[in-house]
């Protein structure tokens, strides 16, 4: 055993040695240790440097509130994890941990210079300093701030661990496995309620499990022994599920809670492999019992942050739970009775301990116990300074004045190697407030306690402000019984004895002889904010607690102010002379403790990140070297490079082939909605801008759909399959939204219409063949069909069969070429495609992707909704007046087309742009100006589509330009980073204005 491992306990198995490293140095601990307890057992207190002043810092607590001991775990590039609390890491063989925020080493840290110049970097330093001169920002300030910002190092490689999500339901969820949680869970489970008890530590019992003091007796047993029995009884209950190593992250409305379970973090390296690391539980509970306990408060005095200054109850836990003495020469500095339990524990283990108490006396049994043991107590005194750079060596104490506002008498220097501090307790009301609960301020012991209003959750134990053992047991029992409608319980008559605290005193900021400006009385240890900073913020006019918090960064570190928020509030209240309860608190937001990104995303990584939709022809595209593009969730062939072609070369070849002979496109991803019902025509009349009643059966028509605000929403060709039967196509990305919109109108505005909508996007595959030779290819595929322009004109459809399989042929065109689209049941999509390729071989049929499709339609001036439009374009802006029916009384968006704003003549309107240099290709999104010399230059539009057209042998572009309709022939400019490009406004139809090719 090491010097500081002074006793055996039932919680640490001292037969199982575990080796680990900290900052590269090898140490030993035992199974059951945390990294913190193992370091302390080796006498290591110094574990990190503070964020701003780089002051040496030591382990301060034993739980999730730890502000100082935050470590980097592992050093590999994929598994390394920053900002992990040493107090929460269960020791395992092979653990490699290191300190953060120091360079070159923890022991010698250059950043420590900040401590010497600290009077020049007060609160708000960054806001005040990095304002000027302007030119300094990019080259000097930003790199400087970036270098000193952040704690720890992020992994640079993807996380190889597996994370999981799981849903869970229960009648009663108990949060917290301390004594009140155990009592609650037992009552619930014994009364046939499906109960879950979650606890963030690896074992149940909270702080009572190591409470072996004779002043705390339940049912004639020491409280820890009584609780041990209760736990073993719990484990026998069938309808109770106990989840240890599980911390509650969030408590949302309707009792929906998120909890993170650590599954393999504590396992030795060689046993972690392949197992799930963490699981996020999504729990819906009928009733929630919050039993999250309380956190001990520090005391705020000059130099209260040295390594070796530890919360008093943590000292007791390290001693009685882990068997580790945090010091051999201890002083306890307190304002309350609970710290005396630590003193008695230390004394009984034969460890030297003295007590400094700010109160004049205390007459409780635990204090009497300490006095009887002969522990020296300095009443009505305060610590005014501490000494020791990397570890505390001594303290100075002074007497308090009568009212406690000042110090009197002489300084008394006392040697020590550990200073245990206790400023009372703060109920952990985070869960209560997260769920929407409100708080009340209790003056007598200066705590915020929950106001119980919800029917679906209650708070029990010390998170409810019950601090004394008797209160905890009795109140928890009564409250839970009432909450769950239970009449009797075995605890009803149980006897509880405990020490009772009668004398209370609290001083948020302890007085000193040194002027305040020269003290370093830390409030937020992790963010290095001091009492001085808070007072400065108040002097500078900040009043709201939320503002003071942000200005001083108090409570904004990874511990989210678990230790600091109350002191900040207290000092603000005192300084501003207001009652503390009236200030309110800062908002407690989830998660309670930091969550890993892994736990949040669960399995939704890599190929499970999003749904990937593939057409039935996808395999063929892969075999033929397609490069893919994401369109919504779809994978669409983008282009099909041959040999080493780049995008441009492939697209030029594909585009030329489609116009010169034949091209083929997989158009299966376009949205398809089957519309049936006796009012189908009327319905289309209302949702499209053009008229539909007179469309003949077997005919196709292009339709434009607006939003009620008059802006273009979607477009596509709809085919009349029968009297009351249509097939609508939508854009690939818009399919789901269009269906939702149509359903909305049908269900809410026009329920009287007899119309049925079915999404059939996935049911049909579509091969689109275009080009002057397309008709010949179709003839080969369907030898019995008459493809003459009379029998099968443009914008019509016919049923057909290929190898006995029914299909639909639409003669429609998005390229301006003679073009056919064949729709077939998806399972035959690939064989249809292969037949088309085979039939087209003699015409060198060329598969083309979305890029070529975009180019070909741009040559014809066809818009793409979402590329040439952005939700602010009306059909009039797009110069598509021809498709807006003047005769129809109403359609979606009609009224908006003549609002004062939509009839403005200077709206952005669709135009074509030709570059003066025909080889210059504009950048899509580039801004357009009419005058170059004007300052500030006015942007009058932007380029929406731009390509080099191989068929026209020049660059073409579509753009939206203010008042563009009237600008034809005008010169405009596109200012780029290194040059200005001259363009001329043109017609946006660049090729075949007479539509001759469609019947070629």
């Amino acid at each position: 055993m090491t010097k500081y491992r002074i006793s055996k306990t039932r919680f640490v198995d001292q037969t199982k040695n575990i080796s680990f490293t900290f900052d590269g140095k090898a140490y030993h601990g035992f199974e059951g240790d945390t990294l913190a307890s193992a370091l302390l057992s080796n006498g290591v207190h110094l574990v990190g440097r503070s964020f701003k002043y780089h002051r040496p810092r030591g382990i301060m607590s034993c739980g999730s509130e730890e502000p100082n001991a935050i470590c980097q775990i592992n050093d590999n590039t994929d598994l390394t994890e920053p900002n992990v609390r040493a107090t929460e890491i269960e020791l395992y063989d092979g653990l490699r941990a290191s300190s953060q925020n120091c360079w070159p080493s923890l022991s010698f840290d250059i950043g420590g210079i900040n401590n010497l110049i600290s009077s020049f970097i007060p609160a708000g330093f960054y806001y005040k300093t990095f304002m000027w001169p302007k030119g300094f920002w990019k080259k000097i300030y930003e790199p400087l701030i970036r270098m000193s910002a952040g704690l720890g190092k992020s992994p640079t490689q993807p996380d190889p661990d597996i994370y999981d999500h799981k849903h869970e339901y229960c009648d009663v969820l108990v949060i917290g496995g301390g004594i009140s949680g155990i009592i609650s869970a037992k009552i619930a489970a014994k009364n046939n309620l499906k109960t879950i008890l979650i606890e963030d530590k690896n074992i149940l019992g909270g702080s009572t499990i190591y409470q072996n003091n004779k002043n705390f007796i339940i049912d004639n047993q020491k409280s820890n022994e009584w609780l041990m029995n209760e736990i073993s009884e719990l484990e026998k209950l069938d309808n109770l599920k106990i989840k240890t190593r599980t911390s509650l992250a969030a408590f949302h409305s309707y009792n929906y809670l998120l909890a993170k379970e650590n599954i393999s973090d504590h396992l030795p390296l060689n046993k972690k492999n392949g197992s799930i690391r963490q699981r996020l539980w999504k729990i819906r509970a009928d009733k929630v019992i919050v039993a999250t306990g309380a956190i001990e408060r520090p005391l705020v005095f000059h130099n209260n942050d040295r390594p070796g200054i530890i919360l008093a109850n943590s000292v007791k836990k390290y001693l009685d739970f882990y068997g580790v003495a945090t010091g051999l020469n201890n002083i306890i500095f307190t304002n309350n009775d609970s710290a005396y339990e630590s003193a008695v524990s230390l004394f009984e283990k034969g460890i030297s301990v003295k007590i400094v108490d700010i109160r004049k006396k205390s007459s409780s049994s635990i204090v009497k116990n300490a006095e009887e043991l002969g522990i020296e107590i300095y009443w009505h005194s305060t610590v005014v300074n501490t000494f020791g750079y990397k570890k505390i060596k001594s303290i100075e104490i002074m007497n308090l004045s009568e009212d406690g506002s000042n110090v009197t008498g002489n300084k008394n220097k006392i040697q020590c190697d550990c200073l245990a501090i206790s400023g009372g307790w703060t109920p952990m009301v985070h869960m209560h407030t997260q769920s929407g609960g409100k708080l009340d301020f209790r003056d007598i012991d200066q705590v915020f306690v929950p106001i119980e209003k919800s029917e679906n959750h209650i708070n029990v134990g010390s998170c409810n402000g019950d601090f004394e053992l008797k209160e905890i047991v009795k109140n928890t029992n009564n409250k839970v019984k009432k909450f769950l409608n239970i009449n009797e319980d075995s605890l009803d008559k149980i006897s509880v004895l405990c020490s009772k605290e009668l004398e209370k005193k609290n001083i948020w900021l302890l007085p000193n002889t040194i002027t305040e400006g020269k003290t370093k009385s830390f409030i937020d240890f992790q963010n290095d904010s001091t009492a001085k900073d808070i007072k400065l913020a108040l002097r500078e006019g900040f009043k709201s607690i939320e503002h003071v918090k942000r200005y001083t960064t108090t409570g904004m570190a990874t511990d989210q102010g678990k230790l600091s928020n109350m002191h900040a509030l207290g000092i603000i209240a005192e300084t501003a002379g207001v009652k503390m309860g009236t200030l309110g608190t800062t908002t407690f937001r989830p998660p309670f403790t930091p969550l890993t990104f892994g736990a949040i995303v669960g399995r939704s990584v890599g190929k499970f990140f999003d749904v990937m939709r593939k057409t039935s022809i996808h395999e063929w595209h892969i075999r033929n070297n397609a490069k893919f593009e994401n369109v919504g969730q779809w994978k669409r062939p983008w282009y099909y490079p041959i040999n080493n072609e780049n995008l441009h070369e492939a697209v030029q070849r594909e585009s030329k082939a489609a116009r010169d002979s034949a091209g083929i496109l997989d158009a299966s991803t376009l949205g398809k909605i089957d519309i049936q019902g006796s009012d189908a025509s009327e319905f289309l009349n209302r949702v499209y801008t053009n008229a539909w009643s007179k469309l003949g059966i077997g005919k196709c028509r292009y339709g434009l759909m607006l939003n009620e605000d008059g802006m273009v929403y979607d477009d596509g060709v709809t085919t009349r399959l029968g009297e009351n039967h249509y097939l609508m196509t939508t854009t690939t990305g818009g399919a789901a939204n269009v269906l939702s919109k149509l359903e909305d109108y049908l269900q809410t505005e026009w329920p009287e219409l007899d119309v049925y909508l079915t999404s059939v996007t996935d049911h049909y595959s579509t091969a689109s063949i275009c080009g002057p030779n397309s008709k010949k290819i179709l003839k080969k595929l369907f030898p019995n069909k008459d493809f003459s322009d009379v029998a099968f004109p443009h914008m019509s459809y016919q049923d057909a069969k290929i190898d006995k399989i029914e299909c639909r042929i639409m003669r429609i065109s998005f390229t301006g070429e003679l073009s056919y689209e064949i729709n077939i049941e998806s399972r035959y999509g690939k064989s249809l495609w292969e037949s088309c390729i085979e039939a087209g071989e003699e015409y060198k049929i060329t598969p083309y992707g979305t890029e070529t499709m975009h180019l070909l339609r741009a040559e014809k001036g066809f818009i793409i909704v979402g590329q040439d439009t952005d939700g602010t374009m009306t059909p009039i802006d797009l110069q598509m007046d021809w498709i807006v029916s003047k005769k129809k009384y109403d359609f979606i968006g009609k009224r908006s087309l003549y609002r004062s704003d939509t009839i403005r003549e200077d709206r952005k309107q669709l135009v074509g742009l030709l570059t003066d240099d025909p080889n210059e290709i504009l950048e899509e999104g580039a801004q357009i100006v009419s005058e170059l010399d004007k300052k500030p230059v006015e942007m009058i539009g932007h380029v929406t589509s731009s390509y080099f057209s191989p068929n026209l042998n020049k660059s073409i572009a579509l753009a939206v330009v203010k008042g563009g309709k009237k600008l034809k022939g005008q010169k405009l400019f596109i200012p780029m980073e290194n040059k200005n490009i001259n363009v001329t406004v043109s017609d946006f139809i660049f090729l075949d204005k007479e539509n001759k090719r469609i019947n070629a």
């Binding site: 409305s253 309707y254 929906y256 939702s740 269900q747 809410t748 329920p751 009224r895 908006s896």
Partner: protein, 91 residues
């Protein structure tokens, strides 16, 4: 995350639903008769109440039916759920 009692399917998790904003805004039968201001009133103006609000909801990942819901936006308490076309309850 609420639990919503879909009038067609029963209680389901909120993640199955999408909210369609304020309820009982009827599309004018004769939009052409309206002034710009009257049309804008229908098109843009929504109350966004802190307190009891009547809302449209859609069981998007379920039966895909639209229905109305009365919800207190300050505490997410759901007071009533009723089908489209039914009279709103008095809350």
């Amino acid at each position: 995350m609420f639990v919503i009692n879909c009038p067609y399917c029963g209680e389901r998790d909120q993640s199955e639903f999408s909210c369609g904003g304020e309820a009982h805004i009827v599309r004018p039968k004769q939009p052409t008769e309206l002034s710009d201001d009257e049309w804008a009133e229908y098109l843009f103006m929504r109350k966004n109440i802190k307190g009891v609000q009547f809302e449209r909801w859609n069981h998007a990942h379920g039966c895909r039916k639209w229905f109305n819901m009365v919800r207190d936006t300050s505490n997410d308490k759901i007071h009533a759920v009723y089908k489209m076309g039914e009279k709103p309850p008095v809350i």
